[in-house]
């Protein structure tokens, strides 16, 4: 338990060690620690941001899906409407064509019947005239008896 010059030497060593630590040891380690803390903080912030982005994207997807579904429904409704319209048009057209055809056929049939009637009437008139000629055994003047024949023709109508 004696004091001697070792004390002074130890004092100097103490300051040298402290100075070296301050200069070469402490700053790099503390810097690395601070940088890592910052990195971790940044990473956590990025993770939070990614999470928020994800939920935002999910919401967007749901929105888009809903919109797509809606527009698909619209398209279907309008397509159905159009199809129904086409169908109606076609039906109306068909009905029109049928009616026209029927009318034409009826008209044709009418004229044909008229013509047949007229021909028949002519022939009946001729037959009547021929019959009358034979009955009367004399020649009838067609000119003179034209009125009579016309009357007969009218009567046969």
């Amino acid at each position: 338990m004696n004091l001697n010059a070792t004390l002074i030497a130890q004092l100097v060593v103490f300051f040298i060690l402290a100075w070296v630590t301050m200069k070469f040891v402490w700053p790099p380690i503390v810097k690395a620690l601070d940088e890592r803390a910052k990195k971790i903080a940044d990473g956590l912030a990025a993770a939070d941001k990614a999470k928020a982005d994800l939920s935002l994207a999910e919401k967007k997807v749901v929105d888009e899906l809903r919109k797509a579904r809606e527009s698909a429904g619209d398209v279907r409704t309008s397509a159905e409407k159009q199809a129904a319209k086409f169908l109606d048009d076609a039906r109306a057209e068909a009905a029109r064509i049928i009616a026209q055809a029927r009318e034409a056929a009826e008209a044709e049939a009418g004229t044909a019947a008229q013509r047949a009637k007229e021909a028949l009437r002519d022939q009946v008139a001729h037959l009547a005239v021929a019959g009358a000629e034979k009955i009367l055994r004399r020649e009838i003047n067609a000119q003179v008896h034209a009125d009579l024949l016309a009357n007969l023709k009218t009567e046969l109508q």
Binding site: M1, N2, F15, L17, A18, T21, W26, A32, L33, K38
Partner: protein, 276 residues
């Protein structure tokens, strides 16, 4: 080997004598011409080892994933930085004081740990190497009052430096004479006396505490070694049992004393920052 076995008293005294520059035990209590070469060698060697590992860790320090060694050093640095932050509020001062505390902690931890080596191992090796059977060697630098007081005086100088730096020279002198009792001129001598006593007490107790603990620990290891030296069954078993128990307990003392010295360093320097 000695020609005849030393008595217990001779054994202890031999182990408590420093290898100094004179070659024999120091006579005067204070003699500034004597150097304790063993204390100097071991404290400087352990200081260099401390710095070697710290610098290696600092070189490799990356903000990425740390290895185990880097993580261990970082845990120490964080511990010291947290303590410093709690005690010293000036970030500018912490740039110097926190590294001082880290150095002090690791250095003293290693110096205290020299106690774990068998008490006769290094002295016997040294006796064989030097060829002098009576060569003195003490391996625990913190069990030398010069070593611990050297460090505590270093802390005192840092305290004085920060006293002047923070309060200004006139502010500090003003505080020396007006605190703790008041600024009445009649109180000036009393205040000054109290301040001087405070500085002395702090520094002496700071160094003495570490020295006392390590000196006592070393002495008990020697006594336990003496027990084994009786070369009886009781002595042999007693040496093993008592040596194991004391060594395990001493782990606590080694770490605790290093921590206490570091904390007191921070506290004293912190006090230098506060005005009374």
């Amino acid at each position: 080997m000695a020609t005849e076995a030393p008595t217990s008293g001779e054994y202890i005294v031999h182990h408590l004598t420093h290898m100094n520059s004179t070659g024999h035990a120091q006579k005067a209590v204070i003699d500034w011409s004597v150097w304790n070469l063993d204390t100097l060698f071991f404290s400087i060697a352990l200081g260099v080892i401390t710095l070697f590992f710290l610098i290696r860790a600092a070189r490799k320090a990356t903000p990425g994933v740390p290895g185990r060694f880097q993580a261990a050093v970082e845990i120490l640095v964080e511990m010291v930085a947290d303590q410093a932050k709690g005690i010293i509020h000036s970030a500018e001062s912490r740039k110097f004081v926190a590294p001082v505390a880290l150095t002090v902690f690791l250095w003293i931890f290693l110096m205290n740990s020299m106690d774990f080596l068998p008490v006769d191992l290094l002295p016997r090796l040294w006796a064989m190497i030097s060829g002098n059977e009576h060569a003195y060697l003490r391996v625990v630098p913190t069990a030398d009052l010069n070593g611990t007081l050297g460090m505590s005086i270093g802390v005192l100088l840092i305290c004085l430096y920060y006293n002047v730096k923070i309060k200004g020279f006139s502010g500090w002198v003003h505080e020396l004479f007006t605190a703790p009792f008041g600024s009445h001129p009649l109180l000036w001598p009393v205040n000054f006396l109290m301040q001087i006593i405070e500085f002395l007490a702090k520094t002496v107790s700071h160094g003495m505490r570490l020295f006392g603990n390590m000196y006592a620990g070393e002495l008990i290891f020697m006594l336990i070694a003496l027990l084994g030296g009786t070369a009886t069954v009781f002595g042999f078993l007693g040496h093993i049992v008592a040596g194991s128990i004391w060594a395990v307990f001493h782990i606590l003392i080694v770490a605790l004393q290093a921590f206490i010295f570091m904390m007191l360093t921070l506290v004293y320097i912190g006090q230098a920052h506060e005005s009374h």
